[in-house]
């Protein structure tokens, strides 16, 4: 929990990682990719405040103690949601798998939620793994990488019939939250890897699921905004938005926030630190202090209040994941409903 000026903010970090990208985990023959990947992530950290930068060695492999200190002790986070990234073709034990996350997290009851993943190209075996993971780790969300290139397949889309089978399985297994990675990607090469239109189809056909678009479709924020405005169950995952822009490019950050607040609305934006790319501490403190620059070009964006920030930092995600919020951190009567589906601009008229 973060407290400032007498206000208490319940913090859910809805997008974070516990990875091992050190040379001991690199797949033989794929070292250049394993190294390139983590160096690329490390460059993203460079967009945060200098005093929060890590050495590449530390960045490659941080410890359980580091994570607990950075995220919970110093970073104000109440509940953190692990989003797995497998990348087993480059990292022997995977980059950060559901299992690795849970093995660590189970030593800290109540602190973590373990999301899992699926890939429709895995067919029946994948459905079996999904069932197993839900049973074993009680996963209530998944992280999906539609642009992942694999063995001659150049990615997939959420509207594929095979993907629908998995979405149906999610409904049946009690998974409510589908986090789709729609952000910077490598593959597929000749297609538009940032296309978000598949989320539109799936969100319409699965109104009982929530679709959280992580990294808000960067570099295609506008496409994401136009989609989100039409689908009541589409949310904006702010990972990278806060970490990558708030410190490095404050004016662009203000504009992106203004656009998201206009099109998507404060009830449907969720904080994610993207730890270990960025520590949550400065992001939480910065967002609570944040307001638009006092200039004309920001004057017609929706205003942000303390209640807006409480929703974004934790209450919206708490609602999506049924996390109990202490009474002193809840909104007062008349301050709105977190994660309300009708908040987005134009939803009713779309």
């Amino acid at each position: 929990m973060y407290e400032k000026n007498g206000e208490k903010y319940f913090v859910v970090d809805s997008h974070m990682h516990y990875w091992n990208a050190a040379p001991d985990n690199w797949v033989e023959g794929a070292e250049q990719y394993a190294r390139g990947w983590i160096e690329c992530f490390h460059a993203y950290q460079g967009l945060g405040p200098p005093e929060t930068h890590w050495t590449i060695e530390h960045f490659q492999k941080y410890s359980e103690d580091d994570l607990m200190k950075d995220v919970f002790e110093d970073g104000y986070v109440d509940v953190a949601i692990f989003q797995p990234t497998y990348l087993t073709e480059w990292y022997k034990e995977g980059f950060n798998t559901t299992e690795r996350n849970a093995t660590m997290g189970e030593r800290h009851p109540g602190k973590f939620i373990y999301n899992t993943r699926w890939d429709p190209r895995d067919g029946e075996d994948g459905l079996k793994s999904l069932r197993h993971n839900v049973e074993r780790y009680r996963s209530r969300g998944v992280k999906l990488y539609t642009a992942e290139w694999r063995q001659g397949s150049r990615g997939w889309t959420l509207k594929d019939p095979e993907a629908y089978r998995y979405l149906e399985a999610c409904q049946e297994l009690g998974i409510k939250n589908i986090h789709a990675h729609k952000g910077p990607t490598i593959w597929p090469l000749d297609k538009d890897a940032f296309d978000v239109s598949d989320v539109d189809h799936a969100a319409t056909d699965f109104p009982g699921l929530n679709f959280i678009v992580e990294h808000v479709g960067l570099p295609r924020i506008e496409d994401f905004c136009f989609l989100a405005t039409q689908e009541p169950n589409v949310y904006a995952g702010l990972s990278v938005v806060i970490g990558g822009l708030m410190h490095a490019r404050p004016k662009f950050f203000a504009k992106v926030m203004g656009e998201l607040l206009f099109w998507v609305g404060e009830d449907k934006m969720t904080f994610g630190s993207d730890y270990g790319i960025w520590e949550p501490k400065w992001q939480v403190e910065g967002l609570v202090d944040w307001d638009y620059p006092d200039e004309e070009e920001f004057s017609d964006y929706p205003r942000v209040s303390t209640a807006s920030k409480k929703k974004i930092l934790g209450l919206n995600a708490a609602r999506l994941y049924d996390i109990e919020v202490p009474p002193e951190c809840r909104l007062a009567t008349g301050e709105g409903t977190p994660a309300a589906q009708d908040a987005a601009q134009g939803v009713s008229s779309a």
Partner: protein, 236 residues
């Protein structure tokens, strides 16, 4: 062979016409060019860098290929070589461009098509962003949004932004002359109707914010990666 400074600056000038298709900025001002030389015999060499090892290879390919084309037509250039460095697909991109192989052949098995449609998609975004750039000053000066519907490009005050918008529209084959309407749908070229104006302008603005924010991230990553300035790099 020795590098010629005069020749190098002509090459650099030619590279100013090459843009990052996603960011709609010249590769020179973005800091992507680290060296450009031309020998007395007319052999030109250009070295390019990108913000990350994993920048999308499709855009990387377009930039290397466009740079090759731009340098090749400079007067006095006999041969051109463009080398992308520090990128996971550098070998495929560099050899593919050198062999004039096209994208699909350069990434055999991983790509089935060329990149025209991708480029056109991003050009349409550039048109939307450019629409915001030229319309916002008008609106700030008190113009009624609906009044913009009747305006033509020729009625606008001359500006770099207007010139840029005209160029992007022309590249897409959209009307760009003085009598062309200011507000058009970039996918069809059709004039925007009265009732669609507020949404059109709102979308234009969002598109511009998206491109500018993305450019900000790319510039920050490049600076963190190298800490040196590229040839012709300009601060935003």
């Amino acid at each position: 062979m020795s590098a010629s400074v005069t020749g190098g600056s002509r090459i650099l000038a030619a590279l100013e016409a090459v843009r990052d298709p996603e960011l709609d900025e010249p590769i020179t001002s973005l800091g992507f060019v680290t060296s450009c030389t031309v020998s007395l015999d007319g052999d030109a060499q250009v070295r390019l860098r990108l913000p990350t090892y994993f920048c999308a290879p499709n855009f990387a390919f377009l930039m290397v290929a466009d740079a090759y084309d731009a340098v090749s037509v400079v007067e006095g250039v006999r041969s051109a070589e463009v080398v992308l460095e520090d990128h996971f697909a550098a070998a495929a991109v560099n050899s593919g461009v050198a062999a004039r192989a096209g994208f699909a052949r350069s990434f055999d098995g991983e790509a089935v098509g060329e990149l025209h449609e991708l480029r056109a998609d991003f050009l349409r975004k550039a048109v939307m962003a450019g629409t915001d750039q030229v319309c916002r000053p008008l609106l700030a000066a008190g113009s009624d949004p609906l009044a913009l519907v009747a305006m033509t490009l020729g009625e606008l005050p001359a500006s770099r932004e207007l010139e840029r918008l005209r160029q992007r529209r022309a590249e897409l084959g959209l009307p760009a002359g003085d009598s062309a309407p200011l507000l058009i749908e970039p996918s069809t070229g059709a004039p925007v109707r009265d009732d669609a104006v507020p949404l059109h302008l709102r979308r234009a603005r969002t598109t511009r914010v998206s491109i500018e924010a993305n450019t900000g991230i790319c510039r920050g990553m490049l600076r963190h990666r190298y800490g040196t300035r590229g040839l012709g790099e300009e601060d935003q």
